[in-house]
């Protein structure tokens, strides 16, 4: 693990206002995620796992505090700047894959590249590489409905890595998969972390995930209750 940090959270607070009630998710949360980390964030429902992932990915805003990515404050970026930042630095993997049903596997993977200046040939080459990496080179022309859940999740991983982001944020990536397929997906994430140096943050209920991650953080009512550093 390098000394550089992907994310540094300082005194982060997040509150939601629901009617007359104010719900506090975090209050003064600190967190460091070094570059090249593979961290699992676990905790019961309502503990703030997903909100934390949203904040890390710039799809939700802090109420107060700072989020620094690779030395750059991201909590103060505008919506447009956050879009560009996400496109360049972050890949997302969701529980339910969230592929576009009208696009083939290759077209789904190509989506993030439409925001780049790459030409068509270069985009196709990158898509082929990403699909090759997740073992789906032969399914490039297939639509999501023609693939199993595990295959769809691997397409989603290919989509997340095709623009070569530094960080992968995964929200329950194995939540909709059987054990064997889930292990394949986690092994793939581990490979991306170990061989390609990606920083991987996984929010999960699945304790098996910890067999693949370098460390696990337990979140309860917006507070890290235990931090386990694994080898």
């Amino acid at each position: 693990m390098s000394d550089a940090f992907s994310f540094q959270l300082r005194k982060v607070s997040k509150r939601f206002v629901k009617g007359k009630e104010t719900i506090t998710i975090f209050e003064g949360l600190d967190l460091d995620i070094p570059a090249g980390d593979f961290v699992a964030i676990m905790g019961p429902s309502g503990s703030g796992k997903t909100t934390l992932l949203n904040l890390l990915g710039g799809i939700d805003h802090v109420t107060s505090g700072e989020i620094v990515f690779d030395g750059q404050r991201v909590d103060s970026l505008s919506e447009g700047q956050l879009s560009a930042w996400r496109a360049a630095n972050v890949g997302f993997i969701f529980q339910f894959y969230n592929l576009m049903p009208v696009l083939t596997a290759a077209q789904n993977v190509e989506l993030p590249l439409l925001l780049t200046t790459l030409g068509r040939k270069e985009r196709r080459r990158n898509v082929a590489t990403a699909l090759e990496l997740v073992g789906l080179a032969d399914r490039a022309g297939h639509y999501p409905r023609e693939m199993s859940g595990g295959q769809q999740q691997r397409v989603a991983i290919a989509r997340a890595i095709v623009s070569d982001p530094q960080v992968l944020l995964c929200d329950e990536p194995t939540g909709d998969l059987d054990r064997a397929t889930a292990d394949e997906v986690l092994a793939l994430l581990q490979l991306l972390n170990r061989e390609h140096g990606k920083t991987v943050v996984v929010v999960t209920h699945d304790p098996e995930v910890t067999r693949y991650t370098k460390r696990t953080l337990h979140l309860n009512k917006g507070v890290f209750v235990e931090r386990t550093a694994l080898a």
């Binding site: 799809i59 879009s83 049903p101």
Partner: protein, 385 residues
């Protein structure tokens, strides 16, 4: 893949729904194209009429005759430059269901008043010299494949000949064009002298006198002078500009423009609600996908452009199909309505007008869903709280 393909793929995801929206837009633009062509054909003479051209008709209405000598008396009115006259012949060739737009005119003075009729000099000379000669508009020549030198028997559904013959014998002397006045392209012009000598009734009578004035600024004064000249006579007159006469002629069929505007506006209002509502639903169904696109880095303005592109593409596609079908229908209709001449077609103005309406329709129907998509918060779209 590119963003355009993404737009097309989104439109094609519910083929039945997209097809139904296309049909709805198609109908609106078919109505617009078809009716607007008729509207413009009715009013084609408005702009083509020279400002200094006046028309004198019987005060009762223009189907009532005037004595032919009125033309000579009008010529004496100060400010009048040239005078001609014409009578409706009611001609048809072989089939009574396909009437010709045929007038008996005084050829030399007619060409003075309508200098915009273009014909080769030798044909002009031939027509002036041939008592049974016809000058026919290019539209008529093309429709019937008539050419100079053809001998034609043409009958009238008003006038039979003194000698008892049903048909009048003519020879095509000239074919003319009037590029700035397409309605005139559908005319067939015969000699008034030949008409007068053959008719069993209505001799020495005309339907209208047409004149040019020295300046449009004199029009009011000349109109009053002419009508005063024939006040309290056997046939009192009313004189107006040719443009006003054409408008009044069109108005006898009702306010065509208003009827067309109401029909088209109703169709468009219905389409606006149907397509607008359907687009809102279609985009709402894709809330999660829009959230995913934004997560991948697509900005709000990119999402806005995508949704607007969808509604614009849909509207333009429906409009092109509708205008194309209208062009076909108008083409068929024009074969049976030769009186409109070359005016009855989907002109560039009608086409561009249609495209303009399509762009407006696309923007209006896409505005709400596009704005919603642009403003959508990712966390809410993905249900992630």
């Amino acid at each position: 893949m590119n963003q355009a393909l993404l737009v097309a793929k989104n439109l094609g995801r519910r083929k039945l729904r997209t097809s139904l929206m296309l049909v709805a837009i198609f109908i609106a633009f078919f109505l617009y194209g078809f009716l607007e062509c008729f509207n413009r054909a009715f009013h084609a003479g408005d702009n083509a009429s020279a400002a200094e051209r006046l028309i004198t008709v019987n005060r009762i209405n223009f189907t009532m005759p005037l004595p032919v000598n009125y033309a000579e008396r009008i010529r004496q009115v100060q400010g009048v430059k040239a005078v001609t006259y014409q009578s409706w012949f009611g001609g048809y060739f072989q089939d009574t269901r396909e009437p010709l737009f045929m007038m008996a005119v005084q050829p030399d003075t007619y060409l003075d008043v309508y200098p915009n009729l273009q014909m080769p000099p030798e044909q002009r000379r031939a027509w002036l010299a041939t008592r049974t000669g016809l000058a026919i508009g290019r539209t008529v020549a093309d429709k019937y494949h008539w050419k100079v030198g053809d001998h034609l028997p043409i009958a009238s559904n008003i006038y039979s000949r003194k000698d008892g013959a049903k048909a009048w014998e003519f020879e095509v002397s000239a074919v003319f064009a009037a590029p700035d006045d397409p309605q005139r392209d559908s005319l067939v012009l015969m000699h008034h002298d030949y008409f007068d000598e053959g008719v069993t009734f209505g001799r020495d009578q005309i339907n209208m006198a047409i004149m040019t004035t020295a300046s449009p600024t004199l029009n009011d004064q000349i109109e009053k002078a002419i009508d005063s000249l024939f006040a309290n006579s056997e046939a009192e007159t009313t004189t107006d500009t040719a443009a006003a006469f054409n408008r009044a002629f069109a108005a006898q069929f009702g306010n065509i423009a208003l009827i067309i505007t109401l029909v088209v506006a109703t169709a468009f209002a219905a389409i606006l609600m149907i397509v607008g509502n359907t687009m809102v639903m279609a985009v709402r169904e894709r809330t999660r996908e829009i959230g995913v696109l934004k997560t991948l880095g697509f900005s709000g303005s990119t999402i806005l452009a995508q949704i607007l592109s969808e509604s614009l593409l849909l509207a333009l596609l429906g409009a092109l199909l509708g205008l194309g079908a209208a062009a076909g229908a108008v083409s068929v209709a024009s074969r049976f309505l030769s009186g409109f001449g070359s005016n009855l077609h989907v002109s560039t103005a009608v086409f561009l007008g249609g495209i303009g309406w399509a762009v407006l329709l696309g923007l209006v129907t896409g505005a709400i869903p596009a704005w919603t998509g642009m403003r959508l918060r990712i966390a809410a779209a993905l249900g992630r709280h």
